[in-house]
Symmetry: C2
Subunit: 137 residues, 2 copies
DNA sequence: CCATAATGTAACCATTGTAGTCACATATAC
DNA sequence: GTATATGTGACTACAATGGTTACATTATGG
């Protein structure tokens, strides 16, 4: 379970909320659909709240709602809110500073990774949470 | 160090080999440039060998060479050879089978992930190991 | 034929990131 | 005031990765 499922869970959670956007949804209810622990959901939605995607209400009758219309929340917003670890790829931590090849590789790889990243952003931006909900049928 | 640096190390190793493609390169020499352990390099190049990107020779004067011209080894080839864990993203391991939203999410997310992947492939295909080497100056 | 030098791999340890869990402070509704 | 939420810190469990040691295998070259 070491894979990065945060993005998937976040999209799932937002879809659950957006599916009945007039109601408040508790972390417990969302966790029921995702099959995980309510705390995991609260931690994740806490990140989304900081990014301005959801709002939370404490206390009885509390829970989560969308902070803006589902059509205006893109998967890129979700990705940025959740993906704190940087990019998809990673460079090797160390390198031999004395090797001329190694010294240049760092910059070259950075360029390659940046170009790849720039291709996925538009794709994620094209899909909104509303699109996801519409596919729920 | 939990990030996925295999791709970066593989590209680095291939660049080292391609930079002097007339010589054999030992795992020890390559590891020196990457600043890691020779076994790590051998394990990685073993995967690349299975994918037909490099060839290895046992014994004294042994080592690694490219299996085909650097211009014909694309970063997509490297990516496929190395990235055994599937895609960039992952679904949540479990889900609530009784929840109609959860049941549909799996398919929807698969579609999203596939569309994103399809965008990065052409970008990786566009760059060859020869291109990397030419950037080494 | 034997020493040397290299890959291929299995086995193991250390580190790290994620998920999951418990506990509790805080806030809100009725 | 009680019941019901979120927010968060602390902790455990687990899986993936990288690193290391060890050793079998294979090839070269005197």
């Amino acid at each position: 379970m070491a894979a990065n499922s945060k993005f998937a869970v976040a999209v799932h959670a937002l879809a659950v909320i957006a599916h009945h956007s007039d109601e408040r949804h508790t972390s417990r209810a969302i966790a029921g659909s995702v099959a995980t622990n309510p705390v995991v959901i609260r931690r994740l939605l806490s990140q989304l709240a900081k990014a301005g995607l959801v709002e939370s209400a404490h206390g009885a009758k509390g829970g989560f709602t969308l902070a803006k219309p589902a059509a205006r929340i893109t998967l890129l917003d979700v990705y940025h809110a959740v993906e704190d670890c940087g990019g998809l790829f990673a460079e090797h931590a160390k390198k031999n500073e004395k090797c001329p090849v190694a010294c240049r590789m760092s910059g070259i790889l950075k360029g390659v990774f940046a170009r790849v990243q720039s291709k996925i952003a538009p794709e994620l931006k094209r899909t909104s949470v509303a699109d996801i909900v519409s596919q729920l049928g």
